[in-house]
């Protein structure tokens, strides 16, 4: 007995990869983003000091410009902040926190949104109507407003900001998945699968979901960039992460007070890193959309 195959649309993974590599900007973005991910993973091993271990931080070394040395002769390549922390180390740990928050909120929102979208598309009827009404209502509010309200009620914390980011993101995923799933659900191969009396779960997971994946990948990349940006903004305002977990946004906020006195590096260097992460993620998403060509 023959198996019902979903028709290939985007071509094989190899084809997509080949097309992806044709854009130099996209390749640069991919290299940049991968480098930051590696830096985040290996931060504890490559950072010159642990910026949160007070024993390693010397207040005598505070506010040194990039290229200075500590009195023990250790170089501060990117200078130090107001507490005498090595900026390079602080930035490496900051990338770690920013990426963890961005990725984990993205993955959870993806899971929640995908589930809601699939259920809405597959069940249809009043379930669809109610779920999509909620999505519409959610999307009609600006993300920063929703996040602001939630964090004001909840307070600071890694779990809290991840929760807030999930709340502002899930609706995008839900709407996108529902849209794709409706199109895919209407295709003949799903009818064929139904004819074979496959279970509901198998139709959803085995046939509709795989065809939603290219679109989801694009949306997830863009959403992650937006989430990192939003987390940085909220942390900058003092609403997101606690001072004990300084993400890039918090580092920028710490340096903000020294800006007027010309000590630019404390703010600007983490800012440049944040910028590079967000822009490279956006370029990646753009290129993925062009190469995978999902119906967005």
């Amino acid at each position: 007995m023959s198996v019902v195959h979903a028709p290939p649309r985007a071509g094989s993974v190899g084809d997509v990869w080949q097309r992806f590599l044709r854009s130099p900007a996209a390749v640069a973005a991919l290299v940049t983003f991968t480098a930051f991910c590696l830096a985040a993973i290996f931060a504890p091993w490559i950072a010159p000091q642990n910026p949160y271990d007070l024993a390693q931080v010397d207040i005598m070394d505070s506010l040194l410009p990039p290229g200075s040395e500590s009195w023990t002769g250790m170089p501060y390549y990117l200078g130090t902040d107001g507490q005498g922390r090595d900026m390079l180390s602080a930035i490496l740990y900051g990338i770690r926190i920013s990426l963890v928050v961005g990725l984990s909120s993205g993955v959870i929102a993806l899971a929640v949104g995908t589930l809601v979208g699939l259920v809405a598309a597959y069940r249809g009827g009043w379930v669809d109507t109610v779920l999509m009404r909620i999505v519409d209502l959610q999307l009609s509010f600006p993300t920063i407003l929703v996040a602001l309200i939630l964090l004001v009620i909840l307070g600071r914390g890694v779990d809290k900001i991840i929760f807030a980011l999930v709340v502002v993101q899930w609706a995008y995923f839900a709407r996108t998945v529902r849209g794709v799933a409706l199109v895919e659900g209407a295709r003949e191969y799903v009818d064929a699968a139904r004819g074979l009396r496959l279970g509901h779960m198998r139709i959803l997971l085995g046939h509709i979901l795989p065809n939603c994946l290219p679109t989801m990948l694009v949306v997830a990349t863009m959403q992650m960039a937006a989430a990192i940006s939003l987390e940085a903004t909220l942390s900058f305002l003092g609403l997101g992460l606690p001072p004990t977990r300084p993400s890039l946004g918090l580092l920028i906020a710490n340096g903000f007070d020294y800006l007027q006195s010309g000590r630019y590096w404390i703010s600007v260097l983490p800012g440049l890193v944040l910028l590079a992460i967000i822009v490279s993620a956006n370029v990646l998403g753009d290129r993925l959309r062009d190469t995978l060509n999902p119906h967005l």
């Binding site: 209502l137 600006p142 920063i144 407003l145 900058f236 920028i252 800006l259 703010s267 967000i278 822009v279």
Partner: protein, 325 residues
């Protein structure tokens, strides 16, 4: 038309009711409202008094009605730190925020429309590529980072612009406005430009996309075939069609701009409601925080309603659809 407005009004009221329920029950479930309304020095008898005062011994749906009743009378409690009604503080600070937001809107349109038109007219020219790259960056880069760079460049390095405050103001109809004085404009320029960038990026994209679509339509060819001057074709016949989606999106985004003003106001120490919120959070002035949230939600829902009505006025197809439907 009337029927359309009434229907939209009912929808807006429903959304508003849902949001007040969310904020109210959110506050009740997640945080103890006693601590939101009591200062930190409050002891047990004082807390009991507040519980009775707030009616927390009564069932929760009854509390909700009291909350709504007070809200409808414009009473959202007193600020701890200022000792005056929270709403009066908001009204006092609102003109500064609205001024900032409107200036940002004007900048976004004045700069964005021509740039978007240019990019739409000659999509393959290098100027168009530069414009589109600019809009992509303005869209994705966090607002506070742009504000920061502006301060470094124009205030710290060049010393051209003041980095903080609002400058001289003039009182117009009881509201202090700064865009009427030279010093005020000087202070307004950087924050307003920073706040405008996201909207500007959006205007550029929408204008360009609209141009690409409308320019090749038969009715524009017909207008040209009738010898109508190019300036009028672009300015009226094309623009009228493009403005509809732009007005809709900008109107809906205006609520977002007020929310984003929180960021810009705290960077540039602009004395608006956003700065007030951040200050209130820093000192845990809870009634003021709740008042701000409720106020912004109301404003946002009202704005969405206004946009829908305005949209229907601009687009005859929607207007008549609402009439017959």
């Amino acid at each position: 038309m009337t029927e359309f407005i009434v229907r939209r009004l009912l929808q807006a009221l429903l959304v508003l009711a849902v949001m007040t329920v969310l904020v109210f029950f959110g506050v009740n479930v997640v945080g103890n409202p006693v601590y939101i309304f009591a200062s930190s020095e409050c002891d047990q008898p004082c807390i009991n008094a507040i519980v009775k005062d707030l009616g927390l011994d009564r069932p929760i749906w009854e509390q909700y009605w009291v909350f709504i009743g007070n809200m409808l009378q414009g009473d959202l409690g007193n600020s701890f730190t200022h000792g005056v009604p929270a709403m009066s503080l908001i009204w006092e600070r609102l003109p500064a925020t609205l001024e900032l937001a409107f200036c940002a809107l004007v900048i976004a349109l004045v700069v964005g429309l021509p740039l978007g038109t240019l990019a739409g007219l000659r999509p393959h020219h290098w100027t168009s590529r530069v414009i589109m790259a600019f809009s992509m960056i303005a869209f994705s880069v966090p607002v506070f980072w742009i504000g920061l760079i502006m301060i470094i460049v124009f205030s710290v390095s060049l010393g051209w612009m003041p980095a903080v405050g609002r400058g001289d103001t003039v009182e117009v109809f009881g509201a202090e406005l700064s865009f009427l004085t030279l010093d005020g404009l000087h202070h307004l320029a950087m924050p307003a430009t920073t706040l405008s960038l996201i909207m500007m990026a959006m205007v550029i994209r929408l204008t360009r996309a609209g141009m690409r679509e409308v320019l090749f339509s038969d009715y524009i060819k017909f207008a040209r075939a009738n010898g109508i001057r190019e300036r009028r074709v672009l300015g009226v016949h094309v623009m009228r069609n493009i403005l509809i989606p732009i007005v809709t999106v900008l109107g809906m985004e205006f609520g977002g701009v007020i929310a984003f003003a929180v960021v810009v106001e705290s960077i540039f120490s602009w004395p608006g409601v956003g700065k007030m919120l951040i200050d209130a959070i820093a000192v845990l002035d809870r009634p003021l925080i709740v008042a701000y949230l409720i106020f912004v939600v109301i404003m946002f829902v009202t704005l969405n309603l206004l946009v829908d009505v305005l949209y229907s006025l601009l687009d005859p197809r929607v207007r008549l659809g609402g009439n017959s439907g």
